[in-house]
Amino acid sequence: MKRFLIPLAVFFVLVIFLAIGLTLNPRDVPSPLKDKPAPAFKLPQLAAADRSFSPADLKGKVWLLNVWASWCVSCRQEHPLLVSFSKEGSVPIVGLNYKDQLPDAKNWLAKFGDPYVLSAVDADGRVGIDYGVYGVPETYVIDKAGMIRMKHTGPITPESLQKQILPLVAELSK
């Protein structure tokens, strides 16, 4: 009996490990930037190139930094959600237009709606590197002190918005 029980136990341990492995998302790499100050930058704004934006401008506010590009398919997927969410006006969303062409980016916003209070233009992706961007879209929750409190990789879903982002924003806004 024992000689069957041991392989069976080993088998079940393997099944448990594989089952856990299946539920994990390999794309979801924990960001080392969590609870660190949001890297400073100064970039021109998409709508008005003569004006610039830097994260320090929003000190004292809780805000979202959403990395997007017109060439990014998943951005289009999450976009309607951002547009409808932005209408509630509960938290400002700043766009980081990542490695995009200016006319394409402007057309994209004109066509699908502009949920951003403003978009900063990161044409060569250098700021993206500082933020550890590796797959657009990515969304950062930044608190009043300018610290990154959360990073969401990939398109925001209604579920992740309701269960993760909004509760955190509410808590940080207190």
Partner: protein
């Protein structure tokens, strides 16, 4: 016919020139390139996770290689460059992550499995040795077996 030969010759001539032109800038910073490749082979491309940064054609990988080249040019050490990447993308970018509490299982796991395997093997061999050492038949059984053999022979 002659014209065609001439044309082919011309084409070949220019191909050579074009190639030489492309290779030239590389030769200027062979040292930088060598170090860049050595460093980027230690790093994972996060866009295509099973490729190293040096082998990946992803746009982010190209940008990061450009960054590495720039940092080498600025005289940064290999460690400073690795730290730069880890600060942004986490330990996951390194193919050889540092040993710390969260990676103990990763580093020690294979050795744990090996130790478990060796323990199981030793237990198995000991049990078998014990079984082999035990007298196969008692005196009484030997006599009965001999009697049975005698019976079938007669």
């Amino acid at each position: 016919m002659k014209l065609r030969t001439l044309l082919i010759c011309c084409t070949l001539l220019f191909t050579g020139a074009a190639m030489a032109k492309e290779a030239a800038p590389m030769a200027a910073d062979v040292e930088i390139e060598k170090r860049m490749v050595a460093i980027s082979e230690e790093l994972r491309c996060l866009v295509c996770q099973n490729e190293s940064l040096s082998g990946s054609h992803a746009e982010l990988a190209q940008d990061l290689r450009r960054e590495i080249r720039k940092m080498i040019g600025e005289g940064k050490t290999d460690k400073e460059i690795l730290d730069f990447m880890v600060a942004r993308y986490g330990d996951f970018v390194r193919y050889r992550p540092p040993v710390k509490p969260t990676t103990w299982l990763l580093w020690g796991g294979p050795f744990l499995l090996l130790a478990g395997g060796i323990a199981a093997l030793i237990a198995f061999l000991r049990r078998r040795a014990k079984e082999d050492a035990a007298p196969a038949l008692s005196e009484e059984e030997r006599r009965r077996a001999a009697a049975l053999l005698d019976q079938s022979n007669s």
